[in-house]
């Protein structure tokens, strides 16, 4: 195709494509009955991109090609993540019911959320849960990794079986453990299941969470441990270091970056804990006196609190406001994580 052909064809295709897409969208929004609007939209989009590709420029040709290749992903990302996020922040300032909103209420949802002792309780136990889990999951995962790399007979089998719980969905896991606590272990606790008392229920959630997540963390630690160069370990051995010394003076410093990764992985995933929490206790548990109030949501983590506010209490706007706060907390955590791992990479 010569330059002139391109010069003529490209604008025609671009204009035809845009027109077809606009007509299809107008047809859709006006609720017209024709079924041709779908193909029209697609053909319009294809024509537009062909026109864009043939656009008679040498300077921007490369950029245009990049854009065309990136477009499907960017479009999907925008539709599923960016647009809902913006809409969600907008809804949090209104009295949205999930169907419609009648007025903008400003920061009323945000102030209401901090006046609710049940929500404050949820935030507190979420932080407690995150702190405990960050330590315990890493500790258990690391010990399991040491065990699996110690040249134990059947190491591969153990590795696979420790990892297996991670492959079971959280809801299923929650119900399995609910059965275990309420039907099997109930003999030990005397007719009252562990998950019906707030303190022991929190402990139960932590146990289940470790059971689910430690195997995954173990795999990452195993990768780290096997990447330690053999000559370093051999040198340590020749110098007469005991296994404990090797562990603390050689192995752990060598896998420092792995530890950072695992810490943040457990941190963010513990924050977002939802499915096990929902299936195991659904947030129930009594707190007789918290800031002078009797609370019924003793084991309700932040994510479940947001879900219940919107769905079970039918207060979508307040739930949305809580979700925005949740987003901010997680964004801060993630930013710190990125900062820290960048620093570590420079050091290594």
């Amino acid at each position: 195709m010569n330059g002139l052909g391109k010069k003529v064809l490209s604008p025609i295709l671009l204009i035809a494509g845009i027109l077809m897409m606009i007509i299809a969208l107008v047809l859709d929004f006006s609720g017209a009955e024709t079924t041709l609007r779908g193909p029209m939209l697609i053909i319009g989009a294809v024509l537009f991109f062909v026109g864009l590709y043939l656009f008679p420029t040498l300077r921007y040709h490369r950029a245009i090609v990049y854009f065309i290749f990136l477009f499907p992903l960017l479009f999907t990302f925008a539709v599923t993540v960016i647009i809902p996020l913006i809409l969600g922040i907008g809804y949090s300032f209104t009295d949205w019911t999930g169907i419609r909103y009648t007025q903008v209420v400003g920061f009323a949802n945000y102030t209401a959320m901090f006046k609710d002792p049940a929500f404050i309780w949820s935030v507190l136990i979420t932080f407690l849960f995150v702190a405990l889990n960050m330590i315990l999951v890493n500790l258990v995962g690391f010990l399991l990794a040491l065990l699996c790399t110690s040249g134990l007979r059947g190491g591969g089998f153990f590795r696979a079986s420790y990892f297996l719980p991670n492959l079971i969905g959280g809801i299923v896991l929650g119900y399995i453990w609910q059965f275990v606590f309420s039907n099997v272990l109930i003999g030990l606790t005397g007719n009252i299941s562990m998950i019906s008392q707030t303190k022991s229920a929190l402990f139960a959630i932590i146990v289940v969470y470790i059971w689910q997540y430690a195997g995954y963390i173990m795999l990452i630690y195993i990768t780290g441990l096997t990447q330690i160069p053999g000559d370093v370990l051999e040198a340590a051995k020749i110098d007469g270091a005991s296994p404990v010394q090797t562990l603390f003076q050689v192995k752990i410093p060598m896998i420092a970056s792995t530890i950072t990764i695992c810490t943040f992985l457990t941190l963010t995933s513990a924050f977002k804990q939802f499915d096990v929490n929902m299936a195991l206790t659904n947030g129930t548990g009594s707190v007789p006196n918290f800031l002078g109030n009797y609370l019924s949501n003793g084991t309700q983590m932040l994510a479940l609190n947001i879900y219940n506010t919107a769905i079970s209490k039918n207060n979508y706007a307040l739930g949305q406001a809580k979700a925005v706060l949740f987003f901010i907390i997680l964004a801060i955590v993630s930013l710190i994580q990125v900062r820290m791992s960048n620093k570590k990479e420079v050091e290594l």
Binding site: D28, T35, R37, G38, P39, L41, I42, A45, V46, I68, F69, P72, T97, G98, I99, A112, D116, A118, Q178, S182, I186, N191, I192, S193, I195, S196, Q197, L280, T281, N282, G283, T284, G285, S286, P288, N293, Y294, S296, N297, G298, N308, I311, S312, K313, N314
Partner: protein, 455 residues
């Protein structure tokens, strides 16, 4: 040359994938009326397959049903209706813990609203204010007391069954123990009956006098809705909303009445099966009653269906005993059980509304009632209906209704999530002994309600 070929191939793949993505969009965009998209398939019995091809004809309406257990029977009714009139009715059943209103909101956002859908009470209906068809002029309205009316008195909900909440008992065991269930109309009589049964436990083969379960994670609806509803409506005439109004006004509790009620719950705590009381399950509770281990059970008439299906074997082994319902008599002279339609079907105001109204009319008539009552086991809310369900509880409900000894229930209008997010746990604490006596139970319930309504 090779590079160019590769480039062309890649470009072709890209275009195909674009078209492929796009065409999926097209399908959903094109027949918004009845197509069920992949995202909605999480509803367990959503009939994506049947709905897809029928959209084009226009001769079809879609009904979202909230009782998954009668899914099959409703489909049978729908098939019969199609045979007679040519209008296809697509039944989409949801249940088993699905949040129906939440799913409907999703449908609404996706412009995929069903023509008829289930609503559970004031709060559900309030979601759809102005979008439901006024059915006041329908012929079936004069045939029932159970239609749902909005604040202006317009009929916007079609009743399809009747359920009853009362203290269900095993009539055979009461007879053997020499207790007349008709006399159970005062706290003293209940106390006495419980003591008598407790002393004869071994000889009657009972594990416990009553199967009462206050587990809060899965059974909060039993304690927090139904049992709490007894405080709200127990013994009142059908249109008396004194205590419901009091609760709606900032979550107030009449502590004097509630204290008496708390004493009754204390009685249940004391005489219930300890293995069931705090950490039991619904299945355990019903099985225990069906197999004759409990003389009483704190569940309503809906357990009849479970007793004659899932637990049929144990029920038969226990002699298919006769059942009945006594009032929850926490005050002297309470002699009513509570009956109501558990939810209503509303017609969404759209182009199909005439077809939807015609279908509901047909259901209220002889043909429809025959299937709903005989097959689905519904207890008909329509006066002209001559069919009787062979549910174990049908007889006792009919008796109470005929004698005019029924109260309505209004807990459907409690602030949304009250049972799940607030009350269920209080009952569980009371059962486990963490809340020691009726007075502190009353105080805590009053505090929790005020707090919940204050939010």
């Amino acid at each position: 040359m090779k590079k160019k070929l590769l480039g062309t191939l890649l470009a072709a793949t890209l275009v195909t994938s674009l078209v492929a993505c796009g065409s999926a969009e097209t399908t959903t965009g094109a027949d918004t009326s009845a197509d069920t998209t992949a995202a909605e398939s999480q509803a367990p019995a959503a009939d994506a397959d049947t709905s897809a091809d029928s959209a084009a004809s226009g001769q079809s309406i879609r009904l979202v049903n909230g009782k998954i257990e009668v899914d099959e029977m409703l489909k049978e009714a729908a098939a019969k209706y199609q045979e007679e009139t040519g209008v296809e009715v697509i039944i989409e059943s949801m249940g088993g813990g699905i949040d129906i209103q939440g799913t409907l909101k999703g449908y609404y956002q996706a412009d995929n609203m069903p023509d008829i859908f289930v609503n559970g009470g004031d709060t559900d209906f309030a979601n759809w204010t102005g979008q439901l068809v006024d059915m006041s002029d329908q012929p079936w309205v004069s045939d029932t007391d159970a239609a749902y009316k909005d604040a202006d008195g317009k009929v916007i909900g079609f009743p399809y069954t009747t359920e009853a909440i009362g203290l269900a008992y095993n009539a055979d065991i009461l007879e053997k123990a020499g207790i007349d269930p008709a006399g159970l109309t005062s706290p003293a009589a209940m106390q006495e009956a419980f003591e008598t049964l407790d002393s004869k436990k071994d000889e009657l083969g009972l594990t416990a006098v009553i199967g009462y379960c206050a587990e809060a994670t899965n059974l909060y609806w039993s304690s927090g809705n139904h049992l709490f509803g007894i405080y709200e409506d127990g013994g009142l005439s059908r249109d008396d909303t004194t205590y419901f109004d009091l609760l709606s006004d900032g979550g107030q509790i009449d502590t004097e009445r509630f204290l008496e009620y708390a004493k009754m719950i204390q009685l249940f705590n004391q005489y219930s099966d300890p293995a069931l009381l705090v950490s039991g399950t619904y299945d355990q509770q019903i099985l225990g009653f069906a197999s004759g281990q409990y003389a009483f059970v704190t569940q309503g008439s809906w357990i009849g269906a479970t007793m004659t299906s899932d637990d049929a074997e144990q029920y038969a082994a226990a002699g298919n005993f006769k059942v009945g319902m006594a009032p929850y008599a926490f005050l002297d002279g309470i002699d009513t059980i509570m009956t109501n339609s558990p939810s209503w079907w509303a017609v969404y105001d759209n182009d199909n509304k005439d077809a939807s109204l015609a279908f509901l009319n047909w259901l209220a008539g002889d043909e429809g009632q025959k299937i709903l009552v005989k097959k689905a086991g519904f207890i008909s809310p329509f006066k002209s209906c001559s069919f009787v369900a062979d549910d174990p509880f049908a007889e006792t409900i009919t008796e109470y209704t005929a004698a005019g000894k029924t109260s309505a229930w209004h807990w459907l209008g409690n602030k949304e999530g009250l049972a799940q997010n607030a009350l269920g746990v209080v009952y569980q604490d009371y059962a486990s002994g963490a809340i020691a006596d009726p007075q502190s139970f009353t105080d805590i319930v009053a505090q929790v309600c005020a707090q919940y309504y204050g939010q």
